[in-house]
Symmetry: C2
Subunit: 116 residues, 2 copies
């Protein structure tokens, strides 16, 4: 599992190009999209989910686990998402607010455009 704790960059150290690179890949854009539209758990308490989070294993994408882990790392290191570990599982969420302070409107605009 996760090596103790993940490295989350200070949002002010993140470059725009890094964020754009992270988003410029179909699988990763899809992950971000999923977290945005359905980040919050559906009604009812679900296995320790916090607001805006999504469980790792519930991200069911047609790729290998190792590939998913790789993409999540790219997104994490680009400051796009946060990884919370609880016991042996982990939960993913977008760093919406911080990101919006660093790059105002960027994430929202991209997500809107992505909806067509």
């Amino acid at each position: 599992m996760a090596p103790k704790a993940h490295r989350h960059p200070d949002i002010d150290d993140v470059e725009l190009v890094t964020v754009l690179s992270a988003l410029a890949e179909p699988t990763r854009l899809r992950i971000v999209h999923m977290l945005a539209v359905h980040g919050c758990s559906r009604d009812g308490a679900h296995g320790g989910l916090l607001e805006g989070e999504r469980a790792w294993k519930d991200l069911d994408l047609p790729i290998a686990q190792s590939t998913l882990s790789h993409h999540l790392r790219i997104l994490r290191e680009a400051g796009l998402l946060r990884n919370r570990t609880e016991g042996t599982r982990c939960f993913i969420s977008l760093r919406t607010d911080e990101l919006d302070e660093r790059f105002p409107g960027l994430l929202g605009t991209v997500l809107t455009c992505n909806d067509r």
Copy 2:
């Protein structure tokens, strides 16, 4: 020089990921930035420049001509810019309006974020 006429994609055929990929490279982001802030010629008539245009050879970047040509092609095929040929020279401009209709706010937001 330019092979008669360049291929400019219909803006509706352009995918978001393609645009993001095009922007996710320092040199290309810089080119787009240059065209945005200084696309319009400075006061006075300049060798056939139209509004919002910039002459190819005035894009002085620390890269080989062939590399610049390559990047411009990527940007063109991503629907980001238009290439107008006049005689033996060509002029570059952003497809601001069309792009804004296809991906509302995207270009503006990215450029704003790029300014810090």
